[in-house]
Symmetry: C2
Subunit: 319 residues, 2 copies
Amino acid sequence: MINNGISIENAAQMLLDADNILILCHKNPDGDTLGSAAALMYALKAKGKVCAVACHDIIPAKYDFLGIEVYENQFVPEFVVAVDVADQKLLGDSMAAYSADVDLCIDHHPSNTGYAKYVCCDGKLPAAAQLMYSVVVAMGAEIDVNIANSLYTGLMTDTGCFKFSSTTAETHIVGAELLKCGAQHNFISERFFMSRSKKTIELEKYALNTMEYFFDDRCALIVLTKDILDKVQAQPSDIDGISAIPRSIEGVDVGITIRQINDSTFKISVRTTERANASEIAQGLGGGGHTRAAGCEVICSLEGAKNAILREVETALCR
Amino acid sequence: MINNGISIENAAQMLLDADNILILCHKNPDGDTLGSAAALMYALKAKGKVCAVACHDIIPAKYDFLGIEVYENQFVPEFVVAVDVADQKLLGDSMAAYSADVDLCIDHHPSNTGYAKYVCCDGKLPAAAQLMYSVVVAMGAEIDVNIANSLYTGLMTDTGCFKFSSTTAETHIVGAELLKCGAQHNFISERFFMSRSKKTIELEKYALNTMEYFFDDRCALIVLTKDILDKVQAQPSDIDGISAIPRSIEGVDVGITIRQINDSTFKISVRTTERANASEIAQGLGGGGHTRAAGCEVICSLEGAKNAILREVETALCR
């Protein structure tokens, strides 16, 4: 295990030496940042520490079961730890007071900018929760059912239920340990993978009904106009899964989802198989990301946005 | 671990003592029966045995990568082993010659009828592949990449990617071992969980467009008419995922999928949350199954089928 900055043991000791600890999540929080933060919160409390969790956004209701204690000035922070936050910008504007003063960052993004005083990061892990498991163990905290549920939530959501390529034998071993410690995996998978909001269903219906195919069906494209998003009153969490749909169709190598932000601004999500490079496609329009999932934002008409991204897709498919 | 009939060690020894072994899968074969059969085939071949796999149905193309050697009278079977087959009826008509003469059954269904001479069954396991892992280890066969891929396919498909309630710590530990032995999990999850056929997409679109809600939206119902199934030229594997859709909607406790077989025959699939009993609902119309997933077949008109099942659902929701 490679740690940029400090080792797991040093990170654990640093936490044990601190008190009045503020735990920061990234904005638009997901299961990994919240699950890892919750686990750390429970471990610190078990060690007699005062601590709480802060996030730029309101924590979505589906994470209520984690029982996260939100920071509301209960104490004056003496130690700030960011969890699953690759870049201080991702803390969000309302966390600006802390972003230059993060003492420790526990993360799994290879792109971590090293903004914190100390960084404990393993870019090969599929989830921050897998690293947090090791930190909590190194702190000598017992993995109780709360910690087990929190970490299992992070592990499941960031690996797409142990599906993504970054999953390793070690991920399953941590999963096994968490189940032994009482993680209610059925409750968690039901919540995150086996149920969809009515709004998501409405958007899926719209997406399937309006999907277009290009380049011998190797590219599928969905447009989510502001009209439909407003009509459905979709929240970001309702839209999350939609951009995976076009790429999930057999034979499709590039899936494009164009989401209208306002009259002339469009966010474009690019997902690819190993036969095309999503990052290169998005870079063509000034965006970026990973090899299989990337994005960009364009300011033009809808037709302009479609034509522009399709030109990039065509180039990528001809490579 | 409870084994009705014989232990894992005895089953392994029985296989090592045999030769010219015919491995039987259940009809409408899935990833667990085929993955478990393929793993056993590779283990037996490694032990110098002559063996092959037989199935009532043609093995769907998406399982080609398993490299299953199909039985075509290459040898006269001296030993017949059924894998993941709870009842001899599930072998299918074309296997009638063997169904009364199965020497050994390796299975994980609590409902196993005990039709084989010897049964090695653990009804608490989420997949036959988890039991087959232990059998192969007990046979002293090395878990090579073929066996690892075969068993991981069974494990993933029968647990819905480690999501279903039957998943345990031991399931993850076997998953970890298979990854250490070279299972290409990314290839397998991409194949079974991250891509859908165009026919499936067409059926999903139809399902979402025609879904009806009942009983304060606690029940969602889909009808797949023979017309739409013929129009899409849907194979059973294209339909598989559709019956999970109605129950997957937030707030829905009973998901019903009615599939038309002919003018007056309808197969009804019932899926429930923990707030309703699928088996009881299906039993009301002469069917049966598990607590969360059950089914029945009715002979009447489409309206009759809908009304009949909705009456059962209403009763169940009032309990």
